[in-house]
């Protein structure tokens, strides 16, 4: 009985974790370059059932949520016509140095010029390697080519370098739309040739709201089902208590 309670409780915990992930996805439906979190489930160990069961009869211990990385599919491109907005099309990331000095990768291409004319992301991280535009360059004269070449009034200033890692799913999520490569994800290397930048557009979040809503309802119902198992186990224990009146 206690095992049944634990199995059901494990199922409820797993569904709550799924719900947390879906809530996070839904909160980020308008976040530039956001990638949907994938939560999977697995069943737990099976062990010999209790008394009144023959040898070899095994019951399971419930379910657990597993982190299956992120869904790295392309988000839709949104036209902004802002010269400093770039969208990455294909596999690849922009390299930035975060405000605290850590190197990171991002697909959020909403760039700005900081006080010293350096290209930076919306959250204050500088593009790496640093790219400085001549003082007084009007934003409208800045051009960014598909290969990342940055021009100011027709003159080449530098190049935004696109990089990728072997297993983007295994990168550490730093928040602020940034990821850090880890030992599992592999080192940073140049992005494939077919990865291009589109100026004047941003990559939208790849969360499908309708799908996320369905996932949320599913998680809620599965949570309820597991709670019913707990309720029934509770009733059965009450009945067992009733043996001795």
């Amino acid at each position: 009985m206690i095992e049944g309670l634990n199995s059901a409780a494990a199922g409820m915990v797993a569904q709550r974790q799924k719900m947390d992930a879906v809530a996070n996805d839904l909160a980020n439906t308008s976040t530039t370059g956001y990638k949907q979190v994938r939560v999977g489930f697995r069943d737990l160990a099976y062990s010999q059932a209790g008394k009144a069961s023959e040898l070899g009869v095994r019951t399971g211990a419930g379910a657990a949520a597993v982190d299956a990385g992120r869904r790295m599919t392309q988000g839709a491109l949104q036209r902004t016509d802002r010269p400093l907005d770039v969208a990455v099309q294909g596999e690849g990331f922009l390299q930035v140095t975060l405000a605290d000095g850590r190197p990171a990768l991002t697909r959020d291409g909403a760039l700005h010029l900081d006080g010293q004319g350096r290209l930076s992301t919306g959250l204050g991280g500088l593009v790496r390697p640093p790219l400085k535009l001549p003082p007084g360059t009007p934003e409208s004269s800045i051009g960014i080519g598909p290969d990342g070449t940055v021009t100011a009034a027709g003159r080449v200033v530098g190049r935004l370098q696109l990089v990728s890692v072997r297993s983007p799913q295994l990168m550490q999520s730093l928040g602020d739309n940034a990821f850090a490569p880890t030992a599992q994800s592999g080192p940073v290397a140049a992005a494939p040739r077919n990865t291009v930048l589109t100026q004047g557009a941003l990559e939208a979040s790849n969360v499908d709201v309708a799908e996320a809503m369905v996932s949320m309802i599913e998680a809620q119902r599965a949570f309820e089902l597991a709670s019913k198992a707990i309720h029934t186990a509770d009733q059965m224990m009450e009945i067992a208590n009733g043996v001795k009146r």
């Binding site: 697995r42 009144a52 399971g60």
Partner: protein, 219 residues
């Protein structure tokens, strides 16, 4: 009552896994203990068999394929038809129908737990630069005597008659746990349990009468 507890545990596990991709539901079978033949001690005439109790004889798993649902995720795979994906683990090759895969540490296709998914011939499967894998390269294995091991893995002996199914990308197989059936089973199980309790209390009151009332003159 004890047998119903085991059944209850099995149903709780099914319900906890109602959204685990590729989960296969269980079914508890019960059988009576060996019966005693009662006979009249004076005449020797047989009265009839007496069942002594019930026990869980086995828990069988329904490995039949479940409908797949579209997820659109390039690393989600569903098997249409029979068979299992082969997975390399520390304990040897294991099998699964939970096709929610990810990219492992060395750029190879892996399960969410990090075990490599195997292609025909036992090689690992590299994930292409576009983040996709051709589902036709994945090994689909038919198993004899599949047995659940937990962690969505199944052990068994490869082989068996039939045609292995085909893997499809962008979809996941649903859980085999049917919530409606599980709820009905759960209620039925609880009522059997309750009936067991009634039998105990009835026997108790009969014994109570035998112990305290036999020979008592007052009514």
């Amino acid at each position: 009552m004890l047998a119903e507890q085991t059944r209850q545990e099995q149903i709780a596990n099914d319900l906890a896994n109602s959204s685990t991709p590729g989960y296969k539901s269980d079914r508890t079978s019960q059988r009576s203990f060996n019966q005693l033949l009662l006979s009249n001690s004076a005449t020797g005439a047989a009265v009839g068999p007496l069942g002594t109790a019930v026990q869980v004889s086995e828990i069988t798993t329904d490995f039949s394929p479940q409908p797949a649902r579209e997820t659109g995720d390039p690393l989600d795979f569903a098997i249409q038809g029979e068979g299992f994906f082969a997975v390399g683990t520390e304990r040897g090759v294991r099998y699964t129908r939970n096709g929610q895969f990810t990219v492992g540490a060395n750029g190879m296709l892996a399960t969410a737990a990090g075990n490599p998914v195997l292609a025909r011939g036992g090689q690992t499967v590299p994930v292409g630069p576009d983040g996709r894998v051709n589902p036709a390269t994945l090994d689909i294995v038919l198993l004899q005597g599949p047995r659940k091991e937990g962690d969505s893995l199944v052990s068994g002996t490869p082989g068996g008659a039939g045609v292995p199914g085909q893997a499809r990308a962008g979809a996941l197989e649903g859980s085999g746990a049917d919530p409606a059936r599980a709820m009905v089973d759960m209620i039925a199980s609880m009522r059997s349990f309750e009936a067991g309790q009634r039998v105990i209390t009835t026997i108790d009151s009969t014994l109570e009468k035998a112990a305290n009332r036999v020979g008592s003159i007052s009514v």
